[in-house]
Amino acid sequence: MKRYEVIIVGAGPAGLSAAIEAAKKGLKVVVFDENDKPGGQLFKQIHKFFGSKEHHAKIRGYKIGEELLKEAGELGVEVVLNATVVGLYPDKEVNVRINDEIHHFKGDTVIIATGASENMVTFPGWTLPGVIGAGAAQTMMNIHGIRPGKKILMLGSGNVGLVVSFQLLQAGCEVVAIVDAAPRIGGYGVHASKVSRTGVPFYLSHTIKQVHGEDCVTGVTITEVDDHFAPIPDTEKFFEVDTVCMAVGLSPMSQLLKMAGCVMEDNPKRGGQVPIVDEYGETSVSGIFAAGDVSGIEEASSAMIEGKMAGVCVAEYLGYIDEEEKDSLLKVFDADLNSLRQGMFAPKNRGKLIESTEEGIEISKNLLKKGYVKDDEIERFPGVVHKSGVHPVIECTQNIPCNPCQDACKKGCISTGKNITYLPFVKDGSECINCGMCVASCSGQAIFLVNEDCGDGSATVTLPYEFFPLPEVGTVGFGLSRKGEKLCEAEVVSVKSVGAFDHTNLLTMKVPKEYAMKARFFKCS
């Protein structure tokens, strides 16, 4: 039986981060993953991450995955793929299926970072081919290069539903609607807005009544629900679709921990069956740790920090570092994690209706119901200002711990103030040089460069554009509103794609000047 100082199950963000921290301290580490590619969900995440520099903000998920893998490799971490852990026992014996054999390993410590699986909801037709999880859609598109369908309805308006809807649009699918039984959009407003401005409608307080089809999906009927989620008669709406995606939450894959005898609890706030852990992930079984979604559903950024914490804890557990060093490292990770868990979407605010921002500004009700901020609401937010010449307009209206925009501007035009969750604003007297770095750096695609009056009756709007084919300069099309409705004729006057923008193209369109603060997307005619 082969022995390792640390056996980690799962090579996702938590597992790899744990492996890196443990290996840095000199421990002999192995990571088992049942997939043929490492990285967990990171390699499906083609969007830019939120947060601050410490949280890998504005870096796309797959890049973070590549960085973690490289670092783990350099530190001598052994990552074994196609290795399915089928058993974990209290004395830290780990059974792994590799090829057609069961291998036995013994860990001095074990870190479980197995992540989560997707939830499903049932309705007539839910077992038809074409009803899939949003995660499955993401895997098909971003790992295998397959379009899941042509016309798609998304159930679920959390960040997964919103982000995957945007990716479906990027892959060339038509998203006919985003539906959620909840009365308010669950994910970030900026994610909703970037989908909304392409013309995707939101149906909140709606659920799927039935998916139609004999041997595949041919359509779906949704219905409005009341405050108790009961269907309201005669509110049905039919959509012709070939695919229905479900993004209705995740459940921790914690069975290995239960099998090992860890004390478990059913905690709806953490997503279901989770081990009872201390603040650094140690379970009730000494030397067995849990990190990432398996101990409570959050997201990749926090999973990476939890992984680091577990890595440091096992190093101390085995005597590679002393308690003092552990405490000083954990203090830094604690601060990182704490800064991520701030703002409106912090775990402590889950399910709460927040009506105003930390600055005391009323939240856009339309954003929560329809996915976009109305023209008469947008002006009250601090990033939306009027100036002569080109200047940034920052349509960031919810408190999220995120600040790449502040660092992006070399001229120091943008600030989030003293708190990372504060809404960014444009500093008085600052000079915009139209470089576009702020537009490209905003993970929420919420920054625009606007020249409200070019002097000839027109205005220019520079927007982040992540679709193919890229329109050429001179293309005439339409300027779309925040809702995605055709507003006016628009002509592409510039398309910038440089390395520093990291695949976010900057499209500048010329619109009549009365639409300078209204047109937020370009569509070819």
């Binding site: 049942e34 058993g87 054999e101 699986s117 499903m120 049932t122 069975q255 099998m259």
Partner: protein, 106 residues
């Protein structure tokens, strides 16, 4: 944990519902109605349901349906799903052919 052991509670008669024919466990093809009936047959824990109906014992090992089955059983008993103890977790955690399970590299 597992507060639903008081089997003297009256959960009433099984009443048919229009969506009883809906598949819940796809691997073993078990319907919502079969699960609800099983509760009325006296299967009050998830372990019992699993042995009685084989829900969650198929190819995906309950990855999709365990949460759904738990919700249905809890609703039938009139308790919160969090009050039901999950079924036992045991090796092999993922579906594994017997010939492989029996080929050990120690």
């Amino acid at each position: 944990m597992n507060t639903v052991v008081d089997r003297s509670i009256d959960i009433g008669e099984f009443i048919a519902q229009p969506d009883d024919d809906m598949l819940i466990c796809r691997c073993e093809e078990i319907t919502k109605g079969e699960i609800r009936k099983a509760v009325h047959d006296g299967m009050w824990t998830l372990t019992e349901i699993r042995r009685y109906l084989r829900t969650g014992m198929g190819l995906c090992q309950g990855q999709t349906c365990s949460r759904l089955v738990k919700g249905i059983v809890a609703r039938e008993l009139g308790v919160s799903p969090a009050e039901l103890e999950p079924a036992t977790a045991r090796s092999p955690m993922r579906p594994t052919e017997m010939r492989i399970f029996g080929t050990e590299e120690v």
